[in-house]
């Protein structure tokens, strides 16, 4: 089976929604979910059968565009597809009570987001990466402004402006690459990048760093993130932190490993990542709005992944992949639970948690937060431990101190939230959670526990994946 279907089928679905609309109100929702289940099946099929393939589009590379499926890109594809499938299943039961306005458009947007993230990961042509960068960006802008309240529109405008600026820097870098190397294929560029004049190499690297820096939410360029998370609707935030950032992170480091295999900027990027983690956690300490607080926590985690990837050795990349998985699952659980709480209490201040009367949701939130914090037996622990270990092997004590300090600060506000949750004045009725929601949330928490207790299930695959990623197969 072909990996192009990951992009072609969501596009086909998006273009054909007016036809599907004739078959009743629910047709779009069910077809979308069925298609995502099929893509999930496709992903596992590729994983079991081939594992590595190059998919041509129109003509053969290096002149044409191709999709490269390796173990590492397949890992990300499977992550995105399963996150999106779980999201759709969750939303199918959520929509009976509080559906989004103009639902079919919402389904088009999330499927376009899925297609673009997968395209970003699979594509091996830098201009094609730009096109997917824009598709993912535009769907994300509209999703964040979807509710059309003034705060949602404010978030959308800020997201759009930063995204547009990022895309200018990216296309400038692509233009320079084509002028000086004469190819758009990642493999060819990687071969010739070393031979460029030093100044041009520096210029291209800086432009790429600025362009992707906005999207991977790294320190000076992440001022927009908290506003976007706060203004957007809670469910959509799960997608932002579980899919969008991860796709950009993968592409950024894929390009970095290909173009600069000897780690010229490695030290700079490590310090940048550690500093952004510290800055994000310090800023998160003062927040009282739940979505904003978890936005800062997301920033901290993404910066930790950034630091690990920037170390540019196999063990650190394996750790980064562990954190990526754990963070996606945990953030999904948190935002899904917060969406239920928001629907009931209609407030997202952290004091809301005091009046939360649902033992189930409290346990889910607690498990996810403990995993984010990196407590043993939860999924976040493995990744954090591996990062610290590989940092210690490199002898970078200041970075280790910064990460531990950041984790301590993070612990302060998580325990504050936990304190709110478990000292509640149970005056409200018990918040009812439907069985479908309960199943999905319990599944997510179980996943965190399984990864945390039995990391050896994944570690071999992740180790091979990280070797492939560092080896720069394109």
């Amino acid at each position: 089976m072909s990996s192009v279907l990951f992009v072609a089928l969501p596009l086909l679905f998006g273009f054909s929604t007016p036809i599907l609309g004739y078959f009743g109100k629910n047709a779009v929702a069910y077809v979308s979910t069925l298609m995502q289940l099929f893509l999930l099946y496709l992903g596992f099929d590729l994983l079991l059968n081939e594992g590595f393939s190059i998919e041509l589009i129109s003509i053969a590379p290096p002149l044409g565009i191709s999709f490269v499926v390796t173990k590492v890109s397949l890992l990300f594809v499977l992550l995105f597809t399963s996150v999106m499938t779980l999201f759709s299943l969750y939303y199918l039961s959520y929509r009976s009570e509080k559906p989004y306005r103009d639902e079919s458009k919402f389904f088009i947007l999330i499927n376009m987001l899925l297609a673009a993230s997968i395209g970003l990961v699979l594509s091996s042509d830098i201009f094609n990466i730009y096109v997917f960068f824009e598709i993912a960006g535009i769907s994300a802008y509209i999703l964040s402004a979807y509710e059309k309240s003034s705060s949602a529109l404010e978030a959308g405008i800020k997201y759009l402006i930063t995204g547009a600026v990022a895309s200018i820097f990216l296309i400038f870098a692509i233009v320079l690459i084509y002028i000086y190397i004469g190819s758009l294929n990642l493999g060819i560029i990687a071969q010739h990048f070393e031979l460029l004049p030093f100044q041009i190499k520096l210029l291209i690297s800086i432009l790429l760093l600025i362009g992707f820096g906005f999207k991977v939410e790294i320190f000076p360029l992440n001022f927009w993130v908290s506003d976007v998370y706060q203004g957007s609707s809670t469910l959509v935030n799960a997608l932002f932190s579980a899919i969008v950032v991860k796709a950009y992170l993968f592409v950024f480091f894929h390009l970095l490993y290909l173009f600069l295999p000897h780690g010229e900027f490695s030290l700079f990027l490590i310090y940048l990542g550690a500093f952004s983690m510290l800055a994000a956690e310090v800023a998160g300490l003062r927040q009282s709005h739940l979505k904003r607080l978890f936005a800062y926590s997301s920033l901290g985690q993404v910066a930790l992944v950034f630091t690990a990837f920037a170390l540019q050795n196999t063990q650190a990349i394996q750790a980064a992949l562990f954190i990526v998985l754990a963070h996606s699952v945990a953030k999904m659980g948190i935002f899904f639970a917060l969406a239920l709480i928001e629907k009931e209490h209609e407030s997202m201040e952290s004091e809301t948690l005091k009046s939360l009367n649902s033992p189930f949701l409290r346990v889910i939130l607690l498990i996810s937060m403990l995993s984010l914090l990196g407590i043993p037996l939860f999924a976040g622990f493995v990744g954090k431990l591996l990062v610290l270990k590989s940092l210690a092997l490199e002898g970078m004590l200041p970075i280790i101190m910064m990460i531990i300090l950041a984790s301590l600060i993070e612990a302060v506000y998580y325990f504050k939230l936990a304190g709110y949750m478990f000292t509640s004045d149970k005056r409200r009725d018990v918040l009812k959670v439907t069985w479908a929601h309960k199943t999905i949330l319990a599944f997510l928490s179980l996943l965190l526990l399984i990864i945390g207790m039995a990391p050896f299930l994944l570690s071999e695959y992740l180790f091979e994946a990280s070797k492939l990623m560092l080896g720069g197969v394109s």
């Binding site: 596009l11 086909l12 273009f15 041509l56 589009i57 395209g119 100044q199």
Partner: protein
């Protein structure tokens, strides 16, 4: 006087920052002049004589890098969807002022010219300069002219939607046909005949896809224009 006032700290720092950045850009670019190396475009030019049509840019846009064009159409589609989502309320409000006589008579004269030119550019996009995007935008601008000259006119939403759906679906289906017939997405399964080079019917799927692109772009642009126009008076 007000020049002094407007020279605030912000202006000065913005000026200095961007000037420094640009001066270093100019410096680097002037010191490293691009050499005449073999670029991917030269390879595509050679490939074009066996697989393409007369206008090489069309071959590149529609076939060699056709996947980008599919993505680009998706971008347009999402953007017009977003514009529709943002500006959809009170669709019944229209332009209040009737346009003047000059505009009405001129639009009657100009509309057929523009639309014929647009269709020509769209259909002959693989032989002469032009193509689906340009033709689609021309057709949309003709529709815009009609819309501003006649306040009662409204292009039926169902027609635009049907055209847009048809074009988008058939583009992806052509791609999937290639996948089905020869395991390559967007493959030119109509096998272009070199003897037909430069004729209207040449290049296999290339002219078909470019006309589809034109229809899609025209309908999306018409949709965006109509949405922005219908809302312009009450802001």
């Amino acid at each position: 006087m007000s020049i002094k006032r407007s020279l605030s700290t912000l202006t000065l720092s913005g000026f200095t920052l961007s000037a420094l950045l640009i001066l270093s850009f100019i410096n680097i670019l002037l010191q490293n002049v691009a050499t005449n190396i073999e670029r991917a475009g030269d390879g595509l030019l050679k490939l074009n004589s066996s697989e393409g049509v007369a206008n090489v840019v069309t071959t590149v846009v529609v076939y060699f890098r056709g996947f980008d064009t599919l993505g680009e159409i998706a971008v347009l589609f999402i953007a017009s969807l977003g514009v529709g989502l943002m500006l959809e309320r009170n669709t019944e409000c229209t332009i209040k002022v009737q346009s003047n006589f000059m505009l009405q008579s001129a639009s009657k004269l100009l509309f057929p010219i523009i639309i014929i030119f647009g269709l020509y550019v769209m259909i002959y996009g693989h032989l002469s300069p032009g193509g689906g995007f340009q033709g689609g935008v021309l057709v949309a601008s003709a529709v815009l002219l009609l819309l501003i000259s006649n306040k009662d006119l409204e292009v039926p939403h169902a027609v635009i939607s049907a055209l847009e759906t048809l074009a988008g679906v058939s583009y992806v289906l052509i791609g999937l046909m290639g996948l089905l017939l020869s395991d390559v997405f967007l493959f030119n399964f109509l096998s272009p005949n070199i003897a037909d080079f430069g004729l209207l019917l040449s290049g296999g799927i290339i002219p078909i896809v470019y006309i589809i692109v034109g229809i899609k772009v025209g309908s999306e642009m018409g949709f965006i224009v109509q949405n922005l126009l219908k809302r312009s008076d009450d802001v």
